[in-house]
C-alpha cells in the first residue's frame, strides 16, 4: 500500500508540475484556452524538454546521476517559484473556475475518472509485457544508473561499463528522469516504471482522447467522455503485436508507448486545431514545442514525426493552397532534422567514450 501511495504521489507531482508549466507556457503565448487537461498535456512536453536541456550536457560529460538529481531539484524549485510569482494573482480565479466546473460537470467528470481508474486497475493487474528484451533495457538502464550513480554509462543487460555511450538512446532522457526520481525517492525502478510511469501515461492518453472529443464535438463534454469510452473499449479489444493499444495496456512505461499514445496523438490533436484555425500562431508554437520535447521521450520520434507531420500538413497545405502553412510545417520539421542529424553524427562520427 505504501508503494502505491508513493506512486500516486509521483503521478500527482507530474500532473501538478505539468499543469504549472503548461499554464506558464500558455501565458507566455497569450493563449485564452482555459482547459486544465490541455495545460497538463502541454506542460508534460515542457517538463521533459526542460529536463532534456539539463540532462543532456551532464550525460555527455559523464557526470554522476546524483548531480543531475540535485540540479533537477533546483530547477523544479525554480519552476514552482516562477509559477507562484507570476500566477499567484490568478489563483482565486482558477479556484472559482475549478469549483464551478466540478459542480456543473460532475457526471461527465465522474465517468471520465471511472474510465481512467478501470484502465489503471487493468494495467496494475497485469505483469506480462511480451517485450522481455526491451523491458530489460529500459528498466535495466534505470536500475543500473541508480546503482552506479551514473547516467546510462553501463550495459543494462550485463551491468558492465560501456566503452562508449549507446547512440541508440543517447538523446533519450526519459529513462534518466526515472532514474532521478528513483534516486531522490529511494524507490525501486521496477515500481517507479511499471506502476507510477504506467499510470501517468494512461492518464495522459485519456486526457488526449478527451481533448479529441472536445475538438470533434464543439466542446461538448458529454460527447467527449463518450468518445473516451469508445476509444478505451476499442483499445481493450485491439490486442495485436504492434498496435498502440497493445503498447498502452502492456508496456505503458516505455518511451515507445509515449510516442504511440501521447506524442503522435498530441501532434494529431494540434493538426486538428490548426486545420480549424490556421491563423492561430499559438497552435503552431505548441506544435513546435511538442515536436521539440518529444525526442527526449523517445528517439523514434526522429523518424515518426516527420512522417506524421507530412501526411497531415502537406495535404492540408495543398488543399488550402497555402504557402504560409507549408512554411510553418517546414519550421516544425526543423527539430526533427536537427535531432536526426545529431543521431546520425553520434552513430557514425562522434562517440562519447566512457
Amino acid at each position: 500500500m505504501y508503494y502505491y501511495l508513493i506512486c500516486l504521489g509521483i503521478v500527482a507531482f507530474y500532473l501538478i508540475f505539468s499543469y504549472m508549466l503548461g499554464d506558464l507556457f500558455l501565458r507566455l503565448a497569450n493563449s485564452e484556452v482555459t482547459s486544465a487537461s490541455y495545460r497538463i498535456l502541454i506542460g508534460f512536453f515542457c517538463y521533459f524538454l526542460l529536463f532534456q536541456l539539463i540532462c543532456l550536457p551532464l550525460k555527455f560529460t559523464l557526470q554522476p546521476l546524483s548531480l543531475l538529481a540535485n540540479i533537477w531539484c533546483v530547477a523544479l524549485l525554480a519552476v514552482a517559484g516562477v509559477y507562484i510569482a507570476l500566477q499567484r494573482r490568478s489563483f482565486k480565479d482558477k479556484l472559482n473556475r475549478c469549483k464551478l466546473y466540478f459542480t456543473r460537470q460532475n457526471l461527465p467528470l465522474l465517468i471520465l475518472c471511472l474510465l481512467i481508474v478501470a484502465q489503471l486497475l487493468a494495467i496494475n493487474y497485469n505483469k506480462e509485457t511480451y517485450a522481455l528484451w526491451d523491458q530489460a533495457y529500459y528498466i535495466g538502464d534505470i536500475s543500473t544508473s541508480v546503482y552506479t550513480d551514473t547516467i546510462s554509462q553501463y550495459d543494462p543487460y550485463t551491468g558492465i561499463l560501456l566503452k562508449k555511450l549507446d547512440f541508440e538512446y543517447l538523446l533519450e532522457t526519459y529513462q534518466n528522469h526515472s532514474a532521478v526520481l528513483c534516486r531522490l525517492l529511494g524507490l525501486a525502478p521496477l515500481i517507479e516504471t511499471r506502476t507510477a510511469e504506467a499510470f501517468l501515461i494512461i492518464i495522459l492518453t485519456n486526457l488526449i482522447y478527451y481533448q479529441f472529443g472536445m475538438e470533434f464535438f464543439a466542446q461538448s463534454r458529454k460527447k467527449s467522455v463518450f468518445l473516451v469510452f469508445f476509444l478505451s473499449w476499442l483499445n481493450l479489444f485491439s490486442f495485436n503485436l504492434t498496435t498502440s493499444a497493445e503498447f498502452l495496456y502492456f508496456r505503458a512505461f516505455e518511451g515507445k508507448t509515449i510516442l504511440a499514445c501521447t506524442i503522435m496523438p498530441m501532434v494529431f490533436l494540434l493538426f486538428l486545431k490548426i486545420a480549424k484555425d490556421q491563423q492561430n500562431r499559438n497552435h503552431w508554437i505548441t506544435l513546435f514545442l511538442v515536436v521539440f520535447g518529444s525526442f527526449g521521450l523517445n528517439m523514434s520520434s526522429i523518424y515518426m514525426l516527420p512522417f506524421e507531420l507530412s501526411i497531415c500538413f502537406i495535404p492540408l497545405a495543398l488543399s488550402q493552397k497555402s504557402f504560409s502553412l507549408m512554411a510553418r510545417y517546414a519550421a516544425c520539421l526543423l527539430p526533427c532534422l536537427l535531432y536526426g542529424a545529431a543521431y546520425l553524427a553520434t552513430k557514425h562520427l562522434f562517440y562519447i567514450y566512457t
Binding site: Y157, F226, F237, S238
Partner: protein
Amino acid sequence: MQDLYGLGMDFLNQAFDDSFTNIKVFFLFYLVALAVFWFRKNKELKSWFVYPALFALITVFNPYLMVPIADKIGLAPRIRRIYWLLPVNLVLAFALVWLTYRLTRHWQRALFAAAFTALIALVGESQLSYMVPAQNIYKVSQETIEIAAMIEEDAKGNGAKSCLYADVSLLELRQYDASILNTIRRKDMTKLIVNPADPASVQQVLDEKNSRRTLSMVLYYGVQVKPSIFKKYAKKYQIQYVIPNKDKGLGEYLELMGYQALGETEHFVVYKAT
C-alpha cells in the same frame, strides 16, 4: 524495380500483420468510415481523416518509396511500426459517437451504443485474455525475487555479484537488483544459433574461441563443453554464481567442476563457485 516492389510489399504486409492480424475487422471498418467521410462531401472530415490517409498511401505506404529510404537511413527494423500513423481506433470511436448522436431518443442511443460495444467485444481481440496477474508490486516473477535474495544472502551485500545466466526469463534479475551482473550480453544470446545434437554445430562455436558465446551455449542449450574450457572462461570473468535452468540438466556437470548448489526455485538452481 520488381524486386523493390516485392521487398516493399513484403515489408508492408509483415507490418500490417503485426498490427492488424487479430483486428482486421477494425481496419475494414476504418476504411468504410473513410469512404463514408469521402462521399459525405464534408470538407472538415476529409481534411482531418481522408486526405492524410490518402497521402500516406502514396508516400509512407508506398512500397517503392519507404523501404529504400528506411534502408538508406538505417531504420528499416524500426519502420515496422508505421501503422501507428493511421488513427484507426480514433476514427472508429469518432464515427460511433457521431452515429449515436444522430439518433434523437435516449433509448435509441443507449441501444445503439450497447450494440456496438458488444460488436467490438465480439470481433476484437481482448487484451485482458493475454494479461497475467502480477504476483508482487515489482511485477516480476517470484522466482526472480527468490534468486536475488539467495545471492544477496550469500554475498552479504558485498558489492556487485558476477553471475552467469542465459535464460530470457532471468532478464528481470538486473531490473530487480542491479548489483547482479551477467556475463552474457544480449548479442551472445540472440545471435547464437546452435543445434546441440549436431557435433559440427557445437564444434563451430568452440572453434570461434569466443568465451561468451561458449558460455552462452552451455547455459542456453545445455551443451556440456570440456570442464577445462568452462573453468577457464568462468575464471576469465570471475563468475561467482551460475544460474542454469533445471531443464538443461547441468547440475551434475557443474557440481563435478566444484560448484556448490546454494538453493533452487521452481525452474532454476543457483550454484556458487567455490
